[in-house]
């Protein structure tokens, strides 16, 4: 056995034990036959592919499992929603710090945060045009945001919590087992992004964000997100009623950060109680159902071949 084969032996450990027992020897045989034709770079990619497939199986998010299909359906709409939020975020004070009486010189609020929003908008648009680059774009946007949070010196505004919302919305793109294949997926993604943009703009007008004075800025986007949550819950319910289980579940999944952001930002900027308990119950019910099916898939994948 060569060193390369030994490496494959350890990589195959990424698969669940039951799957390894049934198919491990066969996959190893194929890897060993294929290995001599591979260069260093391609060999590395084969290794990454094996680990990724094994982990997907362990997590119950393989392409033929419900959670895998939900993540595929949520990927592009999530990025479009992130783009919509990134378009609106600068309106909530990130590029207009002066009205709060703070210095208008260069700083996170005047340059870095709008720049970060620009990266999200650009990344999402590239993903829309080139869905094969979806995972790469999501990874870049998330990495830049996380680095900005940890590497930049503390600014007078602090790191806007809205960016964590964008990170959450991009996570399905990272985990999805494959990219959305058809143009219709892109149309739906643009529609959901447009709905979110519309809801945020309407909410911004309704909450009179300019009149809030010194207490305005970041609090206001938090006040607006419940409107988006309601929009998404209605869309999700409509899809589920029309038996589009996967897409409906995907939208419910994408609705959760819009519910959690105001919940995580208590204090003077707490969101108004726009979300009715019924809507929260609806999202919770969908989430519980999804988790149930996910757990069943997970249990199955750890025991038998698909």
């Amino acid at each position: 056995m060569t060193g390369g084969s030994d490496r494959f032996d350890s990589l195959i450990g990424a698969y669940p034990k039951a799957y390894r027992e049934q198919r491990g020897e066969e996959i190893l045989g194929t890897l060993r036959e294929d290995a001599p034709t591979l260069g260093t770079y391609e060999s590395l990619r084969v290794g990454i592919d094996i680990v990724a497939q094994g982990l997907r199986m362990r997590l119950g998010i393989a392409p033929d499992q419900l959670m895998g299909r939900v993540l595929v359906a949520a990927a592009l709409p999530g990025m479009m929603m992130a783009a919509a939020a990134a378009m609106v975020m600068p309106l909530f004070g990130h590029v207009l710090p002066d009205y709060r009486g703070l210095p208008g010189s260069w700083g996170p609020a005047t340059a870095v945060w709008p720049g970060l929003c620009g990266i999200w908008i650009l990344g999402s648009l590239v993903a829309l045009v080139f869905p094969r680059r979806l995972r790469l774009m999501a990874a870049v946007c998330i990495a830049v945001t996380v680095l900005a949070n940890f590497l930049l010196p503390p600014a007078y505004f602090g790191f806007p919590s809205g960016f964590w919302l964008l990170v959450w919305l991009a996570v399905p793109s990272l985990l999805a087992p494959r990219t959305p294949p058809r143009w219709s997926h892109r149309g739906f993604a643009v529609l959901t992004g447009g709905l979110v943009l519309g809801a945020l703009v309407i909410a911004a007008v309704r909450t009179q964000w300019y009149s809030s004075g010194a207490s305005g800025s970041y609090g206001d986007i938090v006040r607006c997100v419940p409107y988006v949550a309601v929009t998404l819950i209605v869309l999700s319910a409509t899809l589920l009623v029309t038996r589009r289980w996967v897409t409906g579940s995907a939208i419910a999944l994408l609705a959760t950060p819009w519910l959690l952001l105001p919940a995580a930002n208590t204090g003077p900027f707490t969101a108004p109680t726009t979300i009715t308990p019924l809507a929260v119950a609806a999202v919770c019910a969908i989430a519980v159902g999804l988790l149930g099916v996910w757990a069943a898939d997970l249990w199955k994948s750890h025991r038998t071949l698909p």
Binding site: V46, Q53, A62, D64, P181
Partner: protein, 116 residues
């Protein structure tokens, strides 16, 4: 049946000639696609699992060659029907595309000449 993506179509096409094992499929798919599609083993087995669970392929035996286990796969009747339908669909689109190119005067030969 959901949309048949290119790698899946190539795998089904490779199996149309008879049973193949994993590495045989990798080679055949590369040959069929003129080297454009190179399946990686992880993706190959994920696709084989999916096609098996959909009833489009089935195992047809196994052997051990130089200490390596080879499991062979073949098309089921459902798999044959899907491959036939998908092939006709693709052929129809390709034929129509060539007809339109001829009508517009930009025949494939002239296009290739123009590009070279």
């Amino acid at each position: 049946m959901d949309e048949v993506r290119e790698p899946t179509f190539l795998m089904l096409a490779a199996l149309a000639e008879g049973p193949r094992h994993g590495y045989g499929l990798i080679q055949d798919v590369e040959r069929l696609s003129n080297g454009k599609t190179k399946l990686r083993p992880g993706t190959l087995y994920a696709t084989l699992d999916r096609l098996t669970s959909k009833g489009l392929i089935e195992t047809s035996g196994e052997e051990v060659v130089e200490g390596r286990l080879r499991r062979y796969y073949r098309l089921t009747s459902a798999g044959t029907a899907v491959l036939e339908s998908e092939s006709k669909q693709r052929l129809m689109v390709a034929t129509e595309a060539l007809r339109r190119l001829r009508v517009s005067g930009a025949t494939p030969g002239r296009l290739a000449g123009g590009l070279s």
